[in-house]
Symmetry: C2
Subunit: 102 residues, 2 copies
């Protein structure tokens, strides 16, 4: 696995409703995207730098390489997950691709 999609979520207006959809619907959909080799989700709880925690959640989807990631989001499942992200991610949430260091 050489590349990952990093998703940073800003704080939702209704965290309880967000959590329910995110954990019960969104992530189960995401791990079924063809090519996803590993998935990890986490909720931010503290900011040791002394700032506001700010970000609410992060998620990472791991792929063999950049081509696999691109192909994944061209599949029906990938497009469905992207559409669900657009529907539920709070404004300012980010989708970033990162090259993992060897």
């Amino acid at each position: 696995m050489t590349v990952k999609l990093v998703v940073l979520y800003t704080r939702p207006a209704d965290p309880e409703a967000f959590e329910k959809h995110y954990l019960d619907v969104h992530m189960p959909m995401a791990v079924q995207i063809p090519g996803v080799q590993r998935a990890e989700t986490a909720r931010f709880v503290d900011a040791p730098d002394g700032g506001e925690v700010g970000w609410y959640r992060c998620a990472e989807l791991y792929f063999a390489d950049a081509d696999a990631l691109t192909a994944a989001f061209g599949t029906e499942q990938g497009r469905a997950v992207a559409a669900d992200f657009e529907a539920v991610a709070p404004p300012g949430s980010r989708l970033l691709v990162a090259d993992i260091d060897a």
Copy 2:
């Protein structure tokens, strides 16, 4: 591993010098902090959300639990790594603690 320290780096003024220090000095120090069970670093390369990539790097240090993370940064090695972070992290870089979903 139930908790991780997530480090988000903003873009350094001199990426080449930053990379050299980060990969040759900072991360080798970080993985020696007592209690670190896993470490991953990655460099952001793309923003599929259509925004600016913005963030430059992310790093994650994994611990058994929140107590282990707190204890880690009370050790001599943990304090040295924190001091090195303060010295080299570009302004606006973040240190966040996240609870990993089961």
